[in-house]
Each structure stands twice: as structure tokens, then as C-alpha cells.
């Protein structure tokens, strides 16, 4: 969807805060929300459904509220939509349906759990890949009103296939709970193809795009 999240190439957002200090978390709640998100989910969530729920945050909130606050609201909303918690439970922070206490991980447990969480998104596609490295491709001019990983700035643009990356779960389908494999390629778009003559003639922007984002040859 053409939501506020699709930020590539939008103008007017100002300077980047290059003086940020280096600590991993600037507030305690950031680390706690990160830890929660790594460990707790509903059975039917997919990574792209979760991303899409975040995309549906009110645009003003998306721009103005802190980053991990948006993760809290995303997980909370996704729990409600999956029937894990009610709105009242989320807003009160309490439930009558209590459960047995969860396991207590140590730091070493957490490091190992992080290690084994490495995920392979490969999923076989129904047909052979259509394109080859070096092919010139053109992306679709339009996208859907649901989740898509074809950003607005790269729609209707021509680029060159830099690499074939195999067949991966298709994000747009995953956001609807559908597991579908599709070929994926890294496409190099020249900066001038994307942005016109203001851009440097030497620069390239690479995107990882699924095969159905391209016009048929």
C-alpha cells in the first residue's frame, strides 16, 4: 500500500541525527520491547503480516511516536487481531486468563536462542525463473492496497538484474497468511533512472524484488 512507511525518495525530512550516542538501547523500554518481540508471537503471525500491521499505524503516530513504541502498538494490535488478547486486556495490562509461569532464560540461553533463530526463507517456486543476470527488467507501475515490498520510488522503472537469489517466501502473500515461493532477484537501478538528471551518473540503488513485481518479458 502507498502508506507513510514507504519513505524512499520522499523529500523534506531534514538532516540525519549523526550525533546519536552508540549505546544499543537509549531507554529501558526499548530493550524490553525488543526482547518481547523476539520471544512472543501468535501462532498465525507471519513476518510480513506483522510488518503490515505496523504500516497501518496512524500516519501521524508513525512519524512522531518513538520507534519501539510503534512495535508495542503493532504487537498489541496483532495480538488482538489474532484473538490472543482482547482490547480491554491490552489497555488494562491484565488478564483473567492467567497461565503457568514461562521458562526463565539466562543470558547464555538467550544468545543460543538468538543463534538458532536464524531463518531460511527459501520456498520452492512453481516454475523456473523467468529472468537471468544481466537482463533488463521493468517493474510494475502499480501496487496493491495490502502489503507489498515494491516501493513507490522503484515502480515503473527499468533496471538490470544484478543477481538471482533463489526462491523465497513471497512477502505480499505472507502478509495474507499464504505461504508461496517466488523467485527473487537483486536489481540495480541507476540513480538517474530513479531520480533523473539531478542524480550522479555513477550511482546505483539495488533492491531485492520478487518476480511478479516485473512486467512480463
Amino acid at each position: 500500500m502507498d502508506g507513510i512507511h514507504d519513505m524512499g525518495g520522499k523529500q523534506g525530512y531534514g538532516a540525519v541525527d549523526v550525533d546519536e550516542t552508540d549505546e544499543p538501547f537509549h531507554h529501558d523500554y526499548e530493550g524490553r520491547m525488543w526482547a518481547i518481540s523476539r520471544n512472543v508471537r501468535a501462532d498465525d503471525w507471519t513476518i510480513d503480516w506483522w510488518r503490515h500491521v505496523r504500516e497501518r499505524i496512524d500516519p501521524v503516530d508513525y512519524l512522531t511516536r518513538p520507534y519501539f513504541d510503534s512495535w508495542m502498538q503493532t504487537s498489541a494490535a496483532a495480538f488482538v487481531l489474532s484473538g490472543v488478547f482482547t482490547l480491554d486486556e491490552i489497555t488494562s495490562g491484565h488478564t483473567d486468563k492467567t497461565g503457568a509461569a514461562a521458562e526463565k532464560q539466562s543470558k547464555a540461553d538467550a544468545i543460543e536462542a538468538n543463534r538458532v533463530s536464524c531463518r531460511d526463507f527459501s520456498e520452492a517456486a512453481a516454475a523456473m525463473p523467468v529472468f537471468r543476470v544481466g537482463d533488463l527488467v521493468k517493474t510494475m507501475a502499480f501496487s496493491s492496497s495490502h502489503h507489498s515490498r515494491l516501493p513507490q520510488y522503484a515502480r515503473g522503472k527499468s533496471g538490470t538484474i544484478h543477481a538471482y537469489r533463489g526462491s523465497h517466501l513471497f512477502a505480499d502473500a505472507g502478509a495474507k497468511g499464504v505461504h508461496e515461493g517466488q523467485h527473487i532477484y537483486t536489481i540495480g537501478f541507476t540513480a538517474r533512472a530513479l531520480w533523473g538528471p539531478e542524480a550522479s551518473r555513477n550511482d546505483v540503488v539495488y533492491l531485492d524484488l520478487w518476480e511478479s513485481y516485473f512486467e512480463k518479458p
Binding site: 538501547f25 530493550g31 523476539r38 501468535a42 508495542m72 496483532a78 543470558k107
Partner: protein, 211 residues
């Protein structure tokens, strides 16, 4: 079961916007309390993950990988061929490194990484991403005016050095291999790793300071 209904998600957000406390820390605390009561996570596990990502899982991992690549041509070849596999030699694989790609700076090219659509980042090898990486300013501008953004970080590039921006639009994740500073040819892996910064592996730093 979720209906995967986009508009329903927007409605729930509107309700939460009106009914949750405004303070982010209170919001997260409410969610944590609820999850603990339900038995979905323990407070101790949350503490452990915060410690893990504060002390162990951070950019020092990426720095060690880059230093090894500088010293060991065989490892560098493996890293450039398949970074997701190569980092398993260190046990650094994990969250968001299943399809890791390493891209190398040269005298002719400079690489930088972004996620314009959300905030994708190779957490298990670089740790937590900086806030600026998730900011509207960086996400919107680095693909459109990379040289201006890099200049804000102090990276002034002549026209003849090509800038390559990698937008993490799928499940591939990117790590930049910065160039080894001149004069460090006899250094050990640990000495070299100490030079390598998080920003140099995202691509918002080019020259590494040799102290």
C-alpha cells in the same frame, strides 16, 4: 485466527491510540505485565535478552568478521560468496542473517545499506540498529541523495567513486566490508577489529581512524 484484514488493523490501532497511555515506557510495561500473567514470557527472559543484545550481540561481532576477512583471503572469499554461511564459522548467525550478503568497498566504490520500507537490519551480526537508521530522514534520503547524507556523516566522496545503495526490501540483509586502513598490514585480528565501527559496516563511515 487473524483474518489478515488490513482495515481491521487500522481500526485496532485507532482504538489503541485513544486508550493506551501516552508514555511509551508505560505502554511496554502494560504489554509485558499481560504477557507475564498469561505465561507467554518471563521477566527474567526479557532481562536476559536485553543483556545479550547489550553485551554480546553487537557490532563487535561484525568487526571480528571484517578483520578476519582482511587477514585471511580464503575467509574473505567465503564471506563474499555466502556471508550467511561464512559467519557460522564464528557462531554469529541468528536473527536476520539467514540471507546475509557482504558488499565490499573499493577505491572505486562505496556501499551503504538502508531499509526504506521498515527497518530491516542484520541484528545478529551488528546488534541493535541506531535510531538514525530507522529515522524518516535516513530512510527517505539515502536512496535519493546519498552523497548529501554521507557528507552529513563526514563522508565526502569525489564524483568518480560510485555509490551503491542496498535497499533491504526482502529477507536479504547486507553488511559492508570497509577498506583496511593503510599501515595496519602487520596488525593482529583483535587490533584490527577494534578499528572497525558499526557505521563503517552500514556504510555511513568510509575511512577508519588508526589511533
Amino acid at each position: 485466527m487473524s483474518t489478515f484484514d488490513s482495515d481491521a488493523a487500522a481500526k485496532v490501532h485507532a482504538h489503541l491510540h485513544s486508550h493506551l497511555p501516552s508514555e511509551p515506557a508505560l505502554r511496554v510495561k502494560a504489554l509485558e505485565s499481560l504477557l507475564v500473567e498469561r505465561g507467554m514470557i518471563s521477566t527474567e527472559t526479557i532481562d536476559a535478552w536485553v543483556e545479550a543484545y547489550s553485551e554480546e550481540i553487537g557490532p563487535k561481532r561484525g568487526a571480528q568478521v571484517v578483520a578476519r576477512a582482511w587477514l585471511d583471503a580464503g575467509f574473505k572469499a567465503r564471506l563474499l560468496k555466502n556471508a550467511a554461511e561464512a559467519i557460522k564459522e564464528f557462531g554469529f548467525e541468528g536473527n536476520a542473517t539467514g540471507h546475509l550478503i557482504a558488499v565490499e568497498n573499493t577505491d572505486q566504490t562505496h556501499n551503504a545499506v538502508v531499509c526504506t520500507l521498515c527497518s530491516c537490519y542484520p541484528f545478529s551480526i551488528l546488534g541493535m540498529s541506531p535510531s538514525w537508521y530507522k529515522s524518516a530522514a535516513y530512510r527517505s534520503r539515502i536512496v535519493r541523495e546519498p552523497r548529501k547524507v554521507l557528507a552529513e556523516f563526514g563522508v565526502e566522496l569525489p564524483d568518480e567513486i560510485a555509490v551503491k545503495i542496498w535497499d533491504s526490501t526482502a529477507e536479504l540483509r547486507y553488511i559492508v566490508i570497509p577498506q583496511q586502513p593503510k599501515g595496519t598490514e602487520s596488525w593482529t585480528e583483535d587490533q584490527l577489529a577494534a578499528l572497525i565501527t558499526r557505521n563503517s559496516m552500514i556504510g555511513t563511515q568510509r575511512e577508519l581512524a588508526v589511533s
